[in-house]
Assembly symmetry: C2
Homo-oligomer: 587 residues x 2
Amino acid sequence: MLNESGNFNNLKLAAGSGKGEYQTPVFMDSDVYKWLEAASYDLANVPDPELEHMVDQAIELIAAAQQEDGYLNSYYQVNKPDERWTDLDHDHELYCAGHLLEAAVAHHRATGKPTLLAVARRFADHIDSEFGPGKRQRAPGHPEIELALVELYRETRERRYLDLAAFFVDQRGSGTMRGYRLGPAYQQDHVPVREATEVAGHAVRQLYLTAGVTDIYMETGEQALLDAMTRLWCDMTFTKMHITGGLGARFVGESFGQAYELPSDRCYCETCAAIASMMWNWRLLLATREARYAELLERSLYNGFLSSVSLDGRRYFYVNPLQSRGVDSMQGRGVVERPEWFGCACCPPNVMRQIALVGHYAATTDESGLQIHQYVSAKIEAELEAERQVVLRTETDYPWDGKVKLTIEETSGNEWKLALRVPGWCEGANLRVNGEAIEAAATSGTYATIERAWQAGDIVELDMVMQPRLTEPNPRVDAIRGSLAIERGPLVYCLEEVDQEPGLNLLDVRIAPDASLRATRREDLLGGVVVVEAQGAVVDVDAWRDELYRPAPMEDLPQREVVLRAVPYFAWANRGPGTMRVWIPRW
Amino acid sequence: MLNESGNFNNLKLAAGSGKGEYQTPVFMDSDVYKWLEAASYDLANVPDPELEHMVDQAIELIAAAQQEDGYLNSYYQVNKPDERWTDLDHDHELYCAGHLLEAAVAHHRATGKPTLLAVARRFADHIDSEFGPGKRQRAPGHPEIELALVELYRETRERRYLDLAAFFVDQRGSGTMRGYRLGPAYQQDHVPVREATEVAGHAVRQLYLTAGVTDIYMETGEQALLDAMTRLWCDMTFTKMHITGGLGARFVGESFGQAYELPSDRCYCETCAAIASMMWNWRLLLATREARYAELLERSLYNGFLSSVSLDGRRYFYVNPLQSRGVDSMQGRGVVERPEWFGCACCPPNVMRQIALVGHYAATTDESGLQIHQYVSAKIEAELEAERQVVLRTETDYPWDGKVKLTIEETSGNEWKLALRVPGWCEGANLRVNGEAIEAAATSGTYATIERAWQAGDIVELDMVMQPRLTEPNPRVDAIRGSLAIERGPLVYCLEEVDQEPGLNLLDVRIAPDASLRATRREDLLGGVVVVEAQGAVVDVDAWRDELYRPAPMEDLPQREVVLRAVPYFAWANRGPGTMRVWIPRW
């Protein structure tokens, strides 16, 4: 797709070897860099000479496109060579630079090769020569460079990169950015970062910025930054987040709405915003070790993020609504069916790199031992003591089942703590070591920890009770007042028209707050999922056929019982266009 | 404002007498024409030499700007003289032409002067020479020319203009318009007019088109056109209209949403869409004499339209939401406070012409007699028989009070029917002639008719019971499910923060379906309104302070009774920015 869409040719044009017209939007380079980042993670997981060759070729092209002084941006080089850095608000030069830096760090870590990192350092040095106190003093319209510079600092230990990241953060709040007539909040210029009290503006810009700020906090320890991040996180999760972890209530400005403005149908919930949220929550988890961040990362991963990609991995949603009334003449099919690509293709390569790095989210180590945050079947290798490997194997059918088996394959015989996250949705969890029940506090929403002198062959079994459940929204959320959602484990469920009795209109279904729910594994459905059947009803709206508004109180509508069949939200829209809803009105 | 914004200077630039830069958007001329139309209605009502002089000067300028061959569009003449008619989808040449024609007809009817009508005819003739079978065969991206050509036909009896209007209508449905990447529905090019089954796309474009199509039906009697219009009207009013008569559920494309997609907070409900709806309903009423069209005209007039203008008449809403959560950093103050003017200033001059012509909507005549559709204090003069005037005087405090007194001041002594509309909201109405009760069927939603040999001095009294009431929405409307609205007479009410007890959060109020309501006249408030007090409650959401989603079923929230004070929706946002809601959750 990057070939077809012209991304590579743009770089070739900059390198002097391309043919034909430059293709916009202005940030086409960043999609190449995101692909390189994803490919690097893949190469770190599984050697693949063919992929490695493609990567090397792309890096060669990028290096050829870089200018003498280190500058690198195909759009400006081809179209406006004399106008570098003249429209920071809109033209994404530093955004593309940030994705280059991220790719370079990932590539260096994965392969040890210096090729892309050298390009990135030359560009970063050039940026450092152009921006800073006494030089250009302005932040870019789209955050991204900040977290990338911190990553480059981590890989190179070159302090200037960290300082430059902090410098860009400090420029925000001038109130002078007026991009696209949406006001300074759209571009994160409405308030100085340390004074911010609520998430606002373009959701992806907001969350790339908070991810970068959290990175800076981790390296500098400046409490004011963490305080601001905690305020924003609470504002977001207490007032502005869909149950799927989706973020950005509005199409206009792809932006956060007001507190409790959380429509199901016309929410934006951009795929890249779910990704940005995972990036931020991962950093907050590293910074604070608080389970709530791993919890939200998981919610986003399995719901608002995973919904973006089709089961065959070839098609993508840009927007992830929680309700679909089917195709309409204005919004087109792109909102009910995943397209293969987009004119603004930020999401697909972002999906690729998130899927490639999902293993990163599984576990961490610290001085006390090893923490497991996300349950996946995996081999986990860690160095808890100098030159002594700890190797664990985890086996699980999560998220379909709450049982996780961990086998210690190697360890030193010294004591260390194993911490296992018990998700907030989990009503009860049992923990056994070598078959014996352990009294570790397995409280939901915390980590259960076991400290012992582990031996190779030790087996830990975590059994989390995973029952389907009904969830209520905060009563201040107007759009879904009086509705319930079905969840099971970390998964949010939805009703799709195709699973219901023929002709049933999803606008007419109802569910009781104490409805009985039944989970069934269906290997034949949607690649193998657990479906949930709920006792529900359908109301007869015949009395309302020709009216939108009538004098109150109307008589209760006649209703008849039906079985509602729910599938995981992430799997919706894989069986043709149709209607769907997550929130079900209660009767 | 037209001077300040450059609209007049644009025309001067076209006439060769302007200075400085041309000001966009491309349809700036149309605002001048709408003002001329409004001023003409005003001149018809009350002589005003100063206004008439201003009008004559403007017409002189317009005539000076017109080109030899009749073409007239300042944007093209100044900026793209060789590119006329090259971008019909976007450049509003025919839209501006339509407003010129409307203004010219209004001016001619009001003053009898031929000046502007001559300009309009020359331009219409030029358009006729450019468009039609065998000539340019394409509709414009923004309907307006259609209804204007029919009006010009009515004023001139030149059949070519009617044929040209029908020609433009017949070009629609090519599916080739792709304006602003919103698809052909945005510009009304997704379906041939006679095959349309639902309102779709940009609401103003849809409704200017249906108004024009209804005009063509009135002149041609083609049943297929009326059938299509009836289908669209039913689709709109049964599935896509806010209780205020507001139309256009979405910001994106300023467009209709899907059936039952009617959010209170992020609806668009553009002022010009309410105006367009009144224009269309007025024509449907003339075409069919059905009360439902007068009824919707009234609902739009007093609610979704009137809300657009501040009580002092100097500031305007472009967007008319039914819920405000106060100012936010993305949407800015323009959604909670009326600005004085807009970069795209279509609404203010459209408001002006609607207010100037509101008297037109009051009454009609036909072969049977005289029909009164809207109740205003007025003098109504009509010629029911050749050269015999009927003069009625109506006195009323409507919409604050349901009593209307009609005095026959002049008549011929021959029998004729007086028809009085009894609104659908009215539970009961009494009718008296000269003090004696009349058995005329005063059924709500129909016309009560009295046929007699009227005498000068006859007095008819209509007394419509006007109690505050609660209204329920269709249960398929997700966004306001389980909520109620307060109405009284033709007025929709709303709760404004400023009228409630201090600190009360409008997200936490509740009302019972059988709440007692009390109406009180308040001369001191908002220029004199009837307020409605309702027995309500406020819930304590403390249990939800830090969570958006929790396991069901939650316990009922504690609540305490409060008195909710409601004011007419049209008067909201006249006392500074604050929160507001029309729909109140029921308990």
